[in-house]
């Protein structure tokens, strides 16, 4: 029965099932994490000492491997000393879900240890600024160049072979060079994001532009469109939705270059925050900060998807880079029925 088929090949699921599965895709990993965190016999390899007893190297608050604790407990029992006490815990680098959840709030409230270190919101702001700046600079040159290469074979032949070669060079490889040329502040970080984005951008956008249906171009030609008008009124509007989707995907890639970019020169932004917090062993803050990157990324993409639906009303189904999350923009599409308006009595 098709109705009960959850695993139909290439069949879209009903909306409620889609929503359920979307929720489950987050619930399942969190559930596994919760089980590992809250059920003592699953893992919990350490003992958190609450009372050191008379064991000389134990102290209150220390985490000790279970085997060592059992050995010392046995020794203390045999010697008739005061017994050490403690309870099983996970290592500090795996905080429980509720601690990380709390860190989403407390991380913003945790003051930096040193007066010149940034707060979390400042770190995030710094990272977003770096991304946006790098992405803008890349797009300012990359989008027009991509359109040019997609439209004219001349520019494609002139540019693309070199760009094809250059895009295989890993952006971080240019880190030392960028610092040497641009200093240690934000400039080299922005440069890494530009290098990481630009070359892919030109090729991907050129490809999208090249996919323009040639029949549309021919139709425009028979309607009297000149050379330049063909580009501005046909080729660009025909590929604008694909270019928009490309930009959304590229923005996601820019985030992956961010962490690499931020360790170049003086460490900055969210990377600095994560590193500092890890050093202070505030792993709940580390997890929260990493999750925040994901949340910013996904919510930006969802916003852009929604915006795309409004910018391009003729194409409400823009391809989504996070299809499962884009539950909106899928309203029922009305198909107007055909039929002649005036009479069909034969004439002539």
């Amino acid at each position: 029965m098709a109705h009960h088929d959850w695993l139909g090949l290439k069949k879209e699921l009903p909306p409620r099932r889609r929503l359920l599965l979307t929720v489950l895709s987050f619930v399942i990993p969190i559930a596994i994490w919760s089980v590992v965190s809250y059920v003592p016999w699953i893992w919990h390899p350490l003992i958190h000492i609450t009372n050191p007893g008379e064991v000389d190297y134990f102290s209150e608050g220390l985490d000790i491997p279970k085997a060592d604790f059992t050995k010392e407990l046995g020794k203390a029992k045999a010697a008739g000393q005061q017994l050490p006490e403690g309870y099983a815990v996970n290592p500090v680098y795996l905080p429980a879900p509720h601690k990380v959840a709390a860190a989403f709030y407390t991380a913003f409230k945790t003051p930096p240890r040193l007066p010149n270190e940034p707060w979390l919101h400042e770190s995030l702001g710094h990272s977003i600024r770096t991304i946006v700046l790098g992405f803008l600079i890349s797009s300012l040159i990359g989008v027009p160049l991509g359109i040019l290469c997609g439209t004219y074979r001349f520019f494609a032949r002139l540019q693309e072979p070199f760009i094809e070669f250059f895009r295989y060079l890993p952006a971080p490889a240019f880190g030392a060079l960028c610092v040497a040329v641009l200093g240690i502040e934000d400039a080299p970080k922005v440069a890494i994001i530009v290098i990481g984005t630009f070359f892919q951008q030109v090729l991907i956008i050129a490809n999208s532009v090249r996919k323009t249906d040639p029949a549309l171009i021919e139709a425009a030609q028979t309607l009297g469109a000149s050379r330049w008008k063909l580009v501005s009124r046909v080729i660009i509007p025909a590929s604008i939705t694909d270019i928009y989707t490309d930009m959304r995907i590229l923005l996601g890639w820019a985030w992956t270059y961010l962490i690499v970019a931020e360790v170049i020169g003086t460490m900055s932004g969210i990377t600095l925050f994560i590193n500092q917090q890890a050093r202070y062993r505030n792993f709940d803050n580390v997890y929260a900060a990493i999750a925040m990157i994901g949340i910013i990324g996904v919510s930006t993409d969802m916003f852009l998807s929604w915006l795309g639906g409004n910018l391009f009303p003729w194409k409400r189904n823009t391809r989504s880079s996070v299809k499962k999350l884009s539950l909106f923009n899928q309203g029922p599409r009305k198909r107007l029925s055909g039929g002649l308006q005036s009479g069909t009595t034969p004439g002539n």
Binding site: L223, W314, S342
Partner: protein
């Protein structure tokens, strides 16, 4: 009626009305003149001829259909007239001037749907007018008139993806006609539509053609469609593509569906079929029929 009784009467033997109609058409000025047109291309060092020696003259407000089996180059002919393809010999004259490239004086309706998906129906019809430098307000007023003519005023703010196939082609016709072309080229415009819609569209096209001063060159592989629409039918053959015959259609106008069974119509159809599907020997294209299972007596 037995088929052997059918023969295509010469239009001159027809009723005085039909004979008179063709005399009047021939007295009109020639809009499109195709002279000794040739198209060939080279692939893997071998020269292939698409067609050769194609000539025809189309008079003002004439409706010409081009029929032919696949590979005869009938679509290529329309594309060369439109200026989208280049010929390799001969010439195409529009009002006596050689055609060198695409232009708004030759409107085209394609088989595929070529409405601009990012423009509303109204904006699609306005496209050519805007390219011609018309102001927004004039273009809009004219587009409204054309949409009214094809009966789609109600859908002027819809996007193409909201329309059915037949409606899309009606918008495409309105868009091409809004430019007031000297000739309307139609390359199998109804081939992708279902049979019922196709019939409606044929009637509709004749209604529009009657109201508008436009000459039509209509490419089709549907012989009934050609017989129903055309004043004259250019029959092309394949391998290599060439003109087989240029037939005056004796079916009187105005045309209506009842004529599909008239003797003139059937005779014309038979004549066309003889060109397109020759029943004579030498047809190497037959499928060998091997009986796989023993079919019962009641199965044919």
């Amino acid at each position: 009626m037995h088929s052997s009784e059918l023969h295509l009467p010469d239009y001159r033997e027809q009723s005085p009305a039909v004979a008179d109609r063709f005399r009047r058409i021939e007295a009109r000025p020639v809009i499109l003149d195709v002279r000794n047109l040739r198209k060939s291309y080279e692939a893997n060092g071998i020269n292939h001829t698409v067609f050769d020696n194609v000539s025809l003259s189309i008079h003002r407000r004439e409706f010409i259909c081009v029929v032919g089996s696949s590979g005869c180059g009938k679509s290529t002919l329309a594309r060369i007239v439109a200026g989208l393809d280049e010929s390799t010999g001969g010439e195409v004259l529009l009002d006596g001037t050689p055609v060198t490239g695409p232009g708004p004086d030759r409107g085209m309706v394609f088989q595929g749907y070529t409405l601009f998906p990012w423009l509303t129906v109204k904006r699609n019809v306005m496209f050519g007018l805007k390219m011609g430098g018309q102001s927004d307000s004039i273009a809009e007023a004219e587009a409204r008139q054309w949409l009214d003519m094809v009966g789609l005023s109600k859908f002027e703010d819809s996007y193409p993806h909201e329309l059915s196939g037949g409606m899309k082609q009606r918008v495409a016709i309105a868009r091409a006609l809004a430019n007031k072309p000297r000739i309307l080229l139609m390359d199998e415009p109804f081939a992708a539509l279902d049979a019922q819609t196709r019939g409606q569209m044929q009637n509709y096209l004749l209604q529009i053609w009657r109201k508008v001063d436009v000459t039509v060159l209509f490419i089709t592989h549907d012989l009934e469609e050609a017989a129903f629409l055309a004043d004259r039918i250019l029959v092309m053959g394949a391998n290599p593509g060439r003109v087989m015959e240029f037939i005056e259609n004796p079916v009187p106008r105005p045309r209506h569906d009842d004529q599909f069974l008239s003797p003139e119509f059937l005779a014309l159809k038979k004549r066309l079929e003889e060109h397109i599907h020759p029943s004579s020997a030498g047809n190497h294209d037959h499928i060998p029929m091997i009986k796989m299972t023993d079919a019962g007596d009641d199965v044919e």
